[in-house]
Protein backbone atom coordinates (compact mmCIF):
# COMPACT_ATOMS: atom_id res chain seq x y z
CA UNK A 1 0.00 0.00 0.00
CA UNK A 2 2.72 2.41 1.00
CA UNK A 3 4.46 1.53 -2.26
CA UNK A 4 1.35 2.40 -4.26
CA UNK A 5 1.04 5.69 -2.44
CA UNK A 6 4.74 6.37 -3.01
CA UNK A 7 4.23 5.80 -6.69
CA UNK A 8 1.14 7.97 -6.80
CA UNK A 9 2.77 10.89 -5.02
CA UNK A 10 6.06 10.61 -6.92
CA UNK A 11 4.20 10.62 -10.19
CA UNK A 12 2.20 13.64 -9.06
CA UNK A 13 5.34 15.58 -8.22
CA UNK A 14 7.08 14.67 -11.46
CA UNK A 15 4.01 15.61 -13.43
CA UNK A 16 3.74 18.98 -11.70
CA UNK A 17 7.41 19.69 -12.40
CA UNK A 18 7.31 18.57 -16.04
CA UNK A 19 4.04 20.25 -17.05
CA UNK A 20 5.50 23.75 -17.36
CA UNK A 21 8.42 22.47 -19.39
CA UNK A 22 6.03 20.58 -21.64
CA UNK A 23 3.86 23.62 -22.22
CA UNK A 24 6.84 25.66 -23.40
CA UNK A 25 8.20 22.80 -25.51
CA UNK A 26 4.79 22.19 -27.08
CA UNK A 27 4.20 25.75 -28.19
CA UNK A 28 7.71 26.84 -29.05
CA UNK A 29 9.56 23.60 -29.78
CA UNK A 30 12.17 24.98 -27.40
CA UNK A 31 13.65 23.30 -24.40
CA UNK A 32 13.86 25.60 -21.47
CA UNK A 33 16.90 24.56 -19.49
CA UNK A 34 16.20 27.41 -17.12
CA UNK A 35 13.20 25.42 -15.91
CA UNK A 36 15.27 24.08 -13.02
CA UNK A 37 16.16 27.64 -12.08
CA UNK A 38 12.51 28.71 -12.19
CA UNK A 39 11.77 25.79 -9.92
CA UNK A 40 14.48 26.97 -7.53
CA UNK A 41 13.04 30.48 -7.64
CA UNK A 42 9.68 29.09 -6.54
CA UNK A 43 11.32 27.19 -3.71
CA UNK A 44 13.02 30.34 -2.47
CA UNK A 45 9.78 32.28 -2.81
CA UNK A 46 8.24 29.87 -0.37
CA UNK A 47 11.31 30.17 1.87
CA UNK A 48 10.95 33.95 1.87
CA UNK A 49 7.26 33.68 2.66
CA UNK A 50 7.95 31.42 5.60
CA UNK A 51 10.85 33.59 6.84
CA UNK A 52 8.58 36.62 6.74
CA UNK A 53 6.24 34.74 8.99
CA UNK A 54 3.44 34.68 6.45
CA UNK A 55 0.97 31.86 6.23
CA UNK A 56 2.59 28.73 4.80
CA UNK A 57 0.20 29.05 1.87
CA UNK A 58 1.38 32.54 0.96
CA UNK A 59 4.36 30.99 -0.81
CA UNK A 60 2.14 29.60 -3.55
CA UNK A 61 0.90 32.85 -5.11
CA UNK A 62 4.28 34.46 -4.47
CA UNK A 63 6.06 31.65 -6.31
CA UNK A 64 3.69 31.82 -9.27
CA UNK A 65 4.13 35.59 -9.44
CA UNK A 66 7.93 35.48 -9.23
CA UNK A 67 8.18 32.69 -11.80
CA UNK A 68 5.81 34.31 -14.27
CA UNK A 69 7.56 37.68 -13.98
CA UNK A 70 10.95 36.06 -14.51
CA UNK A 71 9.49 34.20 -17.49
CA UNK A 72 8.26 37.44 -19.05
CA UNK A 73 11.63 39.13 -18.75
CA UNK A 74 13.46 36.11 -20.10
CA UNK A 75 11.10 35.71 -23.05
CA UNK A 76 11.49 39.34 -24.05
CA UNK A 77 15.25 39.59 -23.63
CA UNK A 78 16.61 36.15 -24.43
CA UNK A 79 14.16 33.81 -26.08
CA UNK A 80 12.93 36.05 -28.93
CA UNK A 81 16.10 35.90 -31.05
CA UNK A 82 16.55 32.17 -30.44
CA UNK A 83 13.31 30.64 -31.74
CA UNK A 84 15.02 29.80 -35.02
CA UNK A 85 18.03 28.26 -33.21
CA UNK A 86 16.65 25.56 -30.92
CA UNK A 87 20.02 24.09 -29.89
CA UNK A 88 21.34 27.54 -29.01
CA UNK A 89 18.17 28.12 -27.01
CA UNK A 90 19.05 25.13 -24.84
CA UNK A 91 22.46 26.64 -24.18
CA UNK A 92 21.21 30.14 -23.51
CA UNK A 93 18.57 28.91 -21.08
CA UNK A 94 21.19 26.77 -19.36
CA UNK A 95 23.43 29.83 -19.01
CA UNK A 96 20.46 31.72 -17.70
CA UNK A 97 19.90 28.98 -15.14
CA UNK A 98 23.50 29.50 -14.01
CA UNK A 99 22.91 33.22 -13.67
CA UNK A 100 19.72 32.74 -11.66
CA UNK A 101 21.43 30.14 -9.48
CA UNK A 102 24.31 32.53 -8.71
CA UNK A 103 21.94 35.41 -7.99
CA UNK A 104 20.10 33.20 -5.53
CA UNK A 105 23.41 32.19 -3.97
CA UNK A 106 24.42 35.83 -3.61
CA UNK A 107 21.12 36.69 -2.00
CA UNK A 108 20.54 33.65 0.22
CA UNK A 109 23.89 31.90 0.54
CA UNK A 110 24.60 28.45 -0.73
CA UNK A 111 23.71 26.49 2.38
CA UNK A 112 20.82 24.07 2.47
CA UNK A 113 17.68 25.47 4.11
CA UNK A 114 14.34 24.03 5.12
CA UNK A 115 10.74 25.11 4.91
CA UNK A 116 8.10 23.74 7.20
CA UNK A 117 5.23 21.91 5.62
CA UNK A 118 1.93 23.78 5.71
CA UNK A 119 0.15 20.51 6.46
CA UNK A 120 1.57 18.37 9.22
CA UNK A 121 0.94 14.81 10.23
CA UNK A 122 -0.30 11.75 8.45
CA UNK A 123 -3.53 10.46 7.07
CA UNK A 124 -4.69 6.90 7.33
CA UNK A 125 -5.32 5.52 3.86
CA UNK A 126 -6.82 2.04 3.87
CA UNK A 127 -4.81 1.02 6.88
CA UNK A 128 -1.56 2.80 6.03
CA UNK A 129 -0.43 6.01 7.70
CA UNK A 130 0.81 8.34 5.02
CA UNK A 131 2.18 11.89 4.87
CA UNK A 132 -0.76 14.25 4.48
CA UNK A 133 1.32 16.76 2.54
CA UNK A 134 2.39 14.21 -0.05
CA UNK A 135 -1.24 13.29 -0.57
CA UNK A 136 -2.08 16.94 -0.91
CA UNK A 137 0.47 17.14 -3.70
CA UNK A 138 -1.50 14.56 -5.64
CA UNK A 139 -4.49 16.87 -5.46
CA UNK A 140 -2.33 19.82 -6.47
CA UNK A 141 -0.90 17.96 -9.47
CA UNK A 142 -4.38 16.91 -10.50
CA UNK A 143 -5.53 20.53 -10.27
CA UNK A 144 -2.58 21.63 -12.41
CA UNK A 145 -3.21 18.89 -14.96
CA UNK A 146 -6.95 19.42 -15.17
CA UNK A 147 -6.53 23.16 -15.11
CA UNK A 148 -4.12 23.09 -18.03
CA UNK A 149 -6.27 20.66 -19.96
CA UNK A 150 -9.28 22.92 -19.38
CA UNK A 151 -7.31 25.98 -20.39
CA UNK A 152 -6.16 24.33 -23.59
CA UNK A 153 -9.41 22.67 -24.62
CA UNK A 154 -12.15 24.85 -23.17
CA UNK A 155 -11.02 28.42 -23.73
CA UNK A 156 -10.45 30.52 -26.79
CA UNK A 157 -6.91 31.20 -25.65
CA UNK A 158 -6.37 27.45 -25.50
CA UNK A 159 -7.72 27.06 -29.01
CA UNK A 160 -5.38 29.74 -30.30
CA UNK A 161 -2.47 28.15 -28.49
CA UNK A 162 -3.22 24.75 -29.96
CA UNK A 163 -3.52 26.34 -33.39
CA UNK A 164 -0.03 27.83 -32.96
CA UNK A 165 1.31 24.44 -31.83
CA UNK A 166 -0.17 22.66 -34.84
CA UNK A 167 0.62 25.12 -37.60
CA UNK A 168 2.07 28.44 -36.62
CA UNK A 169 2.17 29.93 -40.08
CA UNK A 170 -1.47 29.17 -40.77
CA UNK A 171 -2.41 30.58 -37.36
CA UNK A 172 -0.63 33.84 -38.18
CA UNK A 173 -2.43 34.02 -41.49
CA UNK A 174 -5.69 33.83 -39.54
CA UNK A 175 -4.81 36.88 -37.49
CA UNK A 176 -3.29 35.17 -34.48
CA UNK A 177 -0.41 37.06 -32.93
CA UNK A 178 1.84 34.07 -32.34
CA UNK A 179 4.47 36.24 -30.64
CA UNK A 180 1.94 37.11 -27.94
CA UNK A 181 0.97 33.46 -27.58
CA UNK A 182 4.63 32.57 -27.08
CA UNK A 183 5.08 35.33 -24.53
CA UNK A 184 2.09 34.21 -22.49
CA UNK A 185 2.98 30.54 -22.77
CA UNK A 186 6.54 31.10 -21.66
CA UNK A 187 5.37 33.11 -18.68
CA UNK A 188 2.77 30.50 -17.72
CA UNK A 189 5.34 27.71 -18.14
CA UNK A 190 7.84 29.57 -15.97
CA UNK A 191 5.12 30.23 -13.39
CA UNK A 192 4.23 26.55 -13.36
CA UNK A 193 7.87 25.59 -12.85
CA UNK A 194 8.05 28.02 -9.96
CA UNK A 195 4.82 26.68 -8.49
CA UNK A 196 6.18 23.15 -8.65
CA UNK A 197 9.33 24.31 -6.86
CA UNK A 198 7.24 25.88 -4.13
CA UNK A 199 5.16 22.71 -3.76
CA UNK A 200 8.12 20.38 -3.37
CA UNK A 201 10.05 22.50 -0.85
CA UNK A 202 8.49 20.95 2.28
CA UNK A 203 9.58 17.52 1.00
CA UNK A 204 13.15 18.37 0.17
CA UNK A 205 15.60 20.95 1.30
CA UNK A 206 16.16 24.24 -0.49
CA UNK A 207 19.50 25.06 -2.08
CA UNK A 208 20.58 27.04 -5.13
CA UNK A 209 21.23 23.96 -7.28
CA UNK A 210 18.17 21.96 -6.28
CA UNK A 211 16.56 22.43 -9.67
CA UNK A 212 19.08 20.50 -11.75
CA UNK A 213 18.09 16.89 -10.95
CA UNK A 214 14.44 17.81 -11.37
CA UNK A 215 15.22 19.48 -14.66
CA UNK A 216 16.87 16.33 -15.98
CA UNK A 217 13.94 14.06 -15.12
CA UNK A 218 11.36 16.54 -16.37
CA UNK A 219 13.33 17.10 -19.56
CA UNK A 220 13.50 13.40 -20.33
CA UNK A 221 9.81 12.96 -19.60
CA UNK A 222 8.94 15.80 -21.94
CA UNK A 223 11.17 14.33 -24.64
CA UNK A 224 9.25 11.06 -24.63
CA UNK A 225 5.88 12.81 -24.42
CA UNK A 226 6.01 14.98 -27.51
CA UNK A 227 3.70 17.91 -26.90
CA UNK A 228 0.78 16.15 -25.29
CA UNK A 229 -0.40 16.45 -21.70
CA UNK A 230 -1.98 13.01 -21.93
CA UNK A 231 1.19 11.25 -23.07
CA UNK A 232 3.11 13.13 -20.38
CA UNK A 233 0.77 11.61 -17.81
CA UNK A 234 1.28 8.17 -19.30
CA UNK A 235 5.07 8.52 -19.40
CA UNK A 236 5.20 9.92 -15.89
CA UNK A 237 3.01 7.13 -14.54
CA UNK A 238 5.08 4.42 -16.14
CA UNK A 239 8.58 5.76 -15.51
CA UNK A 240 7.69 7.23 -12.13
CA UNK A 241 6.39 3.85 -11.00
CA UNK A 242 9.54 2.12 -12.21
CA UNK A 243 11.66 4.71 -10.45
CA UNK A 244 9.90 4.09 -7.13
CA UNK A 245 9.98 0.31 -7.48
CA UNK A 246 13.66 0.25 -8.42
CA UNK A 247 14.55 2.66 -5.63
CA UNK A 248 12.63 0.63 -3.07
CA UNK A 249 13.76 -2.86 -4.00
CA UNK A 250 17.15 -2.39 -5.63
CA UNK A 251 19.05 0.83 -5.09
CA UNK A 252 18.08 4.48 -4.85
CA UNK A 253 20.92 5.36 -7.21
CA UNK A 254 19.64 3.07 -9.93
CA UNK A 255 16.14 4.39 -9.22
CA UNK A 256 17.36 7.93 -9.72
CA UNK A 257 18.67 6.93 -13.14
CA UNK A 258 15.54 5.03 -14.14
CA UNK A 259 13.76 7.88 -15.87
CA UNK A 260 16.68 9.23 -17.91
CA UNK A 261 17.86 5.81 -19.02
CA UNK A 262 14.41 4.43 -19.85
CA UNK A 263 13.46 7.61 -21.69
CA UNK A 264 16.65 7.52 -23.75
CA UNK A 265 16.04 3.89 -24.70
CA UNK A 266 12.38 4.55 -25.48
CA UNK A 267 13.36 7.34 -27.84
CA UNK A 268 15.90 5.13 -29.56
CA UNK A 269 13.29 2.47 -30.26
CA UNK A 270 10.43 4.83 -30.97
CA UNK A 271 11.54 8.36 -31.78
CA UNK A 272 8.05 9.73 -31.18
CA UNK A 273 8.05 8.31 -27.65
CA UNK A 274 4.58 8.14 -26.18
CA UNK A 275 3.11 10.66 -28.59
CA UNK A 276 0.58 9.39 -31.05
CA UNK A 277 1.42 9.38 -34.75
Amino acid sequence: MALLLDILTTVAILYAVASGLLLIFGVMKIINFAHGAFLTLGAYASLVASNLGLSPWAGVPLAILVGALAGMVVELLIMRPLYARPLDAILATWGLGMVIGQLITLAFGREVQFVASPVQGTVNVWGTDYSAYRLLLVVAAAVIGIGMAALLTRTRFGLITRAVIMNEQLARGLGIHSGAVRFITFSVGAGLGSLAGCLITPLSSVDPNMGIPWLMNAFMLVMVSGASMASLLLATLLFGAIQVVVSTYFSPILGGLAIVVLAAITLRIRPKGFARD
Binding site: R156, M166, Q169, L170, R172, G173, L174, G175, H177, S178
Partner: protein, 235 residues
Protein backbone atom coordinates in the same frame (compact mmCIF):
# COMPACT_ATOMS: atom_id res chain seq x y z
CA UNK B 1 -11.25 58.31 -56.54
CA UNK B 2 -12.03 54.84 -55.20
CA UNK B 3 -9.50 53.34 -52.84
CA UNK B 4 -8.54 49.89 -54.18
CA UNK B 5 -9.16 46.85 -52.00
CA UNK B 6 -5.66 45.66 -52.81
CA UNK B 7 -2.89 47.48 -54.56
CA UNK B 8 0.60 46.18 -55.27
CA UNK B 9 3.21 48.53 -56.68
CA UNK B 10 6.44 47.11 -58.11
CA UNK B 11 6.62 44.41 -55.45
CA UNK B 12 9.80 42.37 -55.33
CA UNK B 13 9.87 39.41 -53.00
CA UNK B 14 10.99 35.83 -52.68
CA UNK B 15 12.84 33.38 -50.50
CA UNK B 16 16.33 33.62 -49.10
CA UNK B 17 18.35 33.48 -52.28
CA UNK B 18 15.63 33.23 -54.86
CA UNK B 19 13.95 36.36 -56.08
CA UNK B 20 10.57 35.12 -57.26
CA UNK B 21 8.52 38.28 -57.79
CA UNK B 22 10.29 40.76 -60.02
CA UNK B 23 8.30 43.95 -59.77
CA UNK B 24 4.62 43.03 -59.68
CA UNK B 25 1.93 45.70 -59.85
CA UNK B 26 -1.72 44.83 -59.44
CA UNK B 27 -4.98 46.54 -58.45
CA UNK B 28 -8.22 45.07 -57.25
CA UNK B 29 -11.24 47.32 -56.75
CA UNK B 30 -13.61 46.81 -53.83
CA UNK B 31 -16.06 44.08 -54.74
CA UNK B 32 -13.94 42.88 -57.62
CA UNK B 33 -12.80 39.30 -58.18
CA UNK B 34 -9.42 38.91 -59.81
CA UNK B 35 -8.04 35.58 -60.99
CA UNK B 36 -4.28 35.18 -60.96
CA UNK B 37 -3.22 32.54 -63.45
CA UNK B 38 0.09 30.96 -64.29
CA UNK B 39 1.88 27.67 -64.31
CA UNK B 40 3.62 26.09 -61.35
CA UNK B 41 6.77 27.84 -60.27
CA UNK B 42 5.79 31.18 -61.76
CA UNK B 43 5.30 32.93 -58.42
CA UNK B 44 1.54 32.83 -57.80
CA UNK B 45 1.75 31.37 -54.31
CA UNK B 46 4.70 33.62 -53.53
CA UNK B 47 2.59 36.63 -54.44
CA UNK B 48 -0.14 35.65 -51.96
CA UNK B 49 2.44 34.96 -49.27
CA UNK B 50 3.98 38.36 -49.88
CA UNK B 51 0.59 40.06 -49.58
CA UNK B 52 -0.44 38.34 -46.35
CA UNK B 53 2.95 39.11 -44.83
CA UNK B 54 4.74 35.76 -44.67
CA UNK B 55 7.51 36.99 -46.93
CA UNK B 56 9.49 40.21 -46.67
CA UNK B 57 9.29 42.64 -49.54
CA UNK B 58 12.56 43.82 -51.02
CA UNK B 59 10.99 46.64 -52.95
CA UNK B 60 7.58 48.10 -53.72
CA UNK B 61 4.47 48.59 -51.59
CA UNK B 62 1.36 46.62 -50.70
CA UNK B 63 -1.78 48.50 -49.71
CA UNK B 64 -5.01 47.04 -48.38
CA UNK B 65 -7.92 49.50 -48.56
CA UNK B 66 -5.46 52.37 -48.62
CA UNK B 67 -3.52 51.11 -45.60
CA UNK B 68 0.15 50.48 -46.29
CA UNK B 69 0.78 46.94 -45.02
CA UNK B 70 4.06 46.33 -46.84
CA UNK B 71 6.06 45.57 -43.73
CA UNK B 72 3.31 44.36 -41.44
CA UNK B 73 3.45 40.89 -39.89
CA UNK B 74 0.86 38.40 -41.13
CA UNK B 75 -1.47 38.57 -38.15
CA UNK B 76 -1.88 42.33 -38.49
CA UNK B 77 -2.65 42.07 -42.17
CA UNK B 78 -5.20 39.35 -41.45
CA UNK B 79 -6.84 41.56 -38.83
CA UNK B 80 -7.58 44.08 -41.56
CA UNK B 81 -10.31 41.52 -42.35
CA UNK B 82 -8.21 39.83 -44.96
CA UNK B 83 -8.91 36.10 -45.24
CA UNK B 84 -6.09 33.97 -46.59
CA UNK B 85 -6.39 30.31 -47.57
CA UNK B 86 -3.16 28.55 -48.47
CA UNK B 87 -3.05 25.75 -51.00
CA UNK B 88 -1.73 23.08 -48.68
CA UNK B 89 -2.32 22.41 -44.99
CA UNK B 90 -5.03 25.01 -44.98
CA UNK B 91 -6.90 23.38 -42.08
CA UNK B 92 -6.03 22.21 -38.60
CA UNK B 93 -6.62 18.54 -39.31
CA UNK B 94 -6.67 17.55 -35.64
CA UNK B 95 -9.20 20.21 -34.68
CA UNK B 96 -12.96 19.88 -35.09
CA UNK B 97 -14.97 21.68 -37.72
CA UNK B 98 -16.22 23.96 -34.96
CA UNK B 99 -12.73 24.91 -33.85
CA UNK B 100 -11.56 25.45 -37.40
CA UNK B 101 -14.48 27.78 -38.01
CA UNK B 102 -13.87 29.55 -34.68
CA UNK B 103 -10.33 30.30 -35.80
CA UNK B 104 -11.77 32.19 -38.76
CA UNK B 105 -13.24 34.72 -36.33
CA UNK B 106 -11.38 37.16 -34.13
CA UNK B 107 -13.65 36.34 -31.18
CA UNK B 108 -16.31 33.74 -30.44
CA UNK B 109 -19.03 36.35 -30.73
CA UNK B 110 -20.93 35.91 -33.95
CA UNK B 111 -20.09 32.25 -34.26
CA UNK B 112 -23.69 31.02 -34.33
CA UNK B 113 -24.69 33.60 -36.87
CA UNK B 114 -21.71 32.88 -39.08
CA UNK B 115 -22.17 29.16 -38.78
CA UNK B 116 -25.81 29.45 -39.80
CA UNK B 117 -24.78 31.41 -42.87
CA UNK B 118 -22.14 28.81 -43.72
CA UNK B 119 -24.55 25.87 -43.53
CA UNK B 120 -26.56 27.68 -46.15
CA UNK B 121 -23.50 27.92 -48.39
CA UNK B 122 -22.36 24.38 -47.62
CA UNK B 123 -25.19 22.15 -46.33
CA UNK B 124 -22.78 19.31 -45.46
CA UNK B 125 -21.57 21.35 -42.47
CA UNK B 126 -24.90 21.07 -40.71
CA UNK B 127 -24.79 18.95 -37.58
CA UNK B 128 -21.14 17.96 -37.98
CA UNK B 129 -19.47 20.53 -35.78
CA UNK B 130 -17.63 17.98 -33.65
CA UNK B 131 -16.10 16.05 -36.54
CA UNK B 132 -12.32 16.41 -36.96
CA UNK B 133 -11.40 18.36 -40.07
CA UNK B 134 -8.83 15.75 -41.06
CA UNK B 135 -11.53 13.11 -41.46
CA UNK B 136 -13.43 15.07 -44.11
CA UNK B 137 -13.15 14.17 -47.77
CA UNK B 138 -10.91 16.28 -49.97
CA UNK B 139 -13.79 18.27 -51.40
CA UNK B 140 -15.37 18.86 -47.99
CA UNK B 141 -12.05 20.08 -46.66
CA UNK B 142 -11.80 22.64 -49.43
CA UNK B 143 -15.32 23.81 -48.70
CA UNK B 144 -14.47 24.11 -45.03
CA UNK B 145 -11.47 26.25 -45.95
CA UNK B 146 -13.74 28.59 -47.87
CA UNK B 147 -16.33 28.56 -45.09
CA UNK B 148 -13.69 29.56 -42.55
CA UNK B 149 -12.57 32.38 -44.80
CA UNK B 150 -16.13 33.65 -45.13
CA UNK B 151 -16.90 33.37 -41.39
CA UNK B 152 -15.41 36.74 -40.50
CA UNK B 153 -17.16 38.42 -43.39
CA UNK B 154 -13.84 39.58 -44.86
CA UNK B 155 -13.26 42.63 -47.02
CA UNK B 156 -10.64 40.86 -49.05
CA UNK B 157 -10.13 37.14 -49.68
CA UNK B 158 -6.91 35.57 -50.93
CA UNK B 159 -7.34 31.95 -52.06
CA UNK B 160 -4.61 29.68 -53.36
CA UNK B 161 -5.67 26.96 -55.84
CA UNK B 162 -8.89 25.91 -54.25
CA UNK B 163 -9.96 23.69 -57.17
CA UNK B 164 -6.91 21.45 -57.16
CA UNK B 165 -7.95 17.81 -57.39
CA UNK B 166 -11.67 18.48 -56.95
CA UNK B 167 -14.71 16.97 -58.67
CA UNK B 168 -16.38 19.26 -61.20
CA UNK B 169 -19.55 19.35 -59.07
CA UNK B 170 -17.63 20.68 -56.06
CA UNK B 171 -15.89 23.23 -58.23
CA UNK B 172 -19.27 24.49 -59.43
CA UNK B 173 -20.52 24.79 -55.86
CA UNK B 174 -17.43 26.72 -54.76
CA UNK B 175 -17.77 29.07 -57.71
CA UNK B 176 -21.40 29.73 -56.80
CA UNK B 177 -20.52 30.41 -53.15
CA UNK B 178 -17.81 32.89 -53.99
CA UNK B 179 -20.01 34.71 -56.48
CA UNK B 180 -22.87 34.85 -54.00
CA UNK B 181 -20.63 36.17 -51.21
CA UNK B 182 -19.43 38.92 -53.48
CA UNK B 183 -22.96 39.75 -54.58
CA UNK B 184 -24.29 40.02 -51.01
CA UNK B 185 -21.32 41.58 -49.22
CA UNK B 186 -19.21 43.18 -51.93
CA UNK B 187 -16.12 41.17 -50.98
CA UNK B 188 -12.99 41.67 -53.07
CA UNK B 189 -11.09 38.49 -53.98
CA UNK B 190 -7.76 37.46 -55.40
CA UNK B 191 -7.99 33.89 -56.60
CA UNK B 192 -4.87 32.02 -57.64
CA UNK B 193 -5.74 29.29 -60.10
CA UNK B 194 -4.49 26.84 -62.66
CA UNK B 195 -8.00 25.92 -63.65
CA UNK B 196 -8.79 28.42 -66.39
CA UNK B 197 -12.41 27.33 -66.64
CA UNK B 198 -13.06 28.04 -62.95
CA UNK B 199 -11.18 31.33 -63.12
CA UNK B 200 -13.21 32.58 -66.07
CA UNK B 201 -16.42 31.49 -64.39
CA UNK B 202 -15.78 33.28 -61.08
CA UNK B 203 -13.59 36.28 -61.79
CA UNK B 204 -14.25 39.68 -63.32
CA UNK B 205 -10.68 40.17 -64.41
CA UNK B 206 -7.61 38.00 -64.81
CA UNK B 207 -3.85 38.48 -64.62
CA UNK B 208 -1.25 36.05 -65.88
CA UNK B 209 1.97 35.70 -63.92
CA UNK B 210 5.05 34.39 -65.63
CA UNK B 211 8.46 34.07 -64.04
CA UNK B 212 7.59 36.65 -61.45
CA UNK B 213 6.08 39.23 -63.76
CA UNK B 214 2.55 40.02 -64.83
CA UNK B 215 2.43 39.46 -68.57
CA UNK B 216 -1.28 39.89 -69.31
CA UNK B 217 -4.29 41.54 -67.71
CA UNK B 218 -7.83 41.62 -69.03
CA UNK B 219 -11.54 41.24 -68.43
CA UNK B 220 -12.90 37.71 -68.30
CA UNK B 221 -15.93 38.89 -70.24
CA UNK B 222 -13.69 39.58 -73.21
CA UNK B 223 -14.41 36.79 -75.72
CA UNK B 224 -10.72 36.42 -76.52
CA UNK B 225 -9.72 36.09 -72.83
CA UNK B 226 -9.41 32.33 -72.90
CA UNK B 227 -7.30 32.42 -76.02
CA UNK B 228 -4.98 35.06 -74.62
CA UNK B 229 -4.58 33.17 -71.39
CA UNK B 230 -3.85 29.89 -73.08
CA UNK B 231 -1.28 31.39 -75.38
CA UNK B 232 0.42 32.97 -72.36
CA UNK B 233 0.36 29.72 -70.43
CA UNK B 234 1.80 27.65 -73.24
CA UNK B 235 5.21 29.15 -73.73
Amino acid sequence: MIIPALELKDVESGYEQAMVLRGVSLQIAPGEIMALLGKNGMGKTTLLKAVIGYLPKRAGTVQVFGQDVTHWPAHRVARQRVAYSPQEQALFAELSIRDNLRLGLSSDKGFDEGYAAMTEHFPFLAGRLAQLAGTLSGGEQKMLVVARALMMRPRLILIDEITEGLQPSVITRLAASLRRERATHGTAMLIVEQNVGFALQVADRYSVLKRGEIVAVGATADPSAEQIINSQLQV
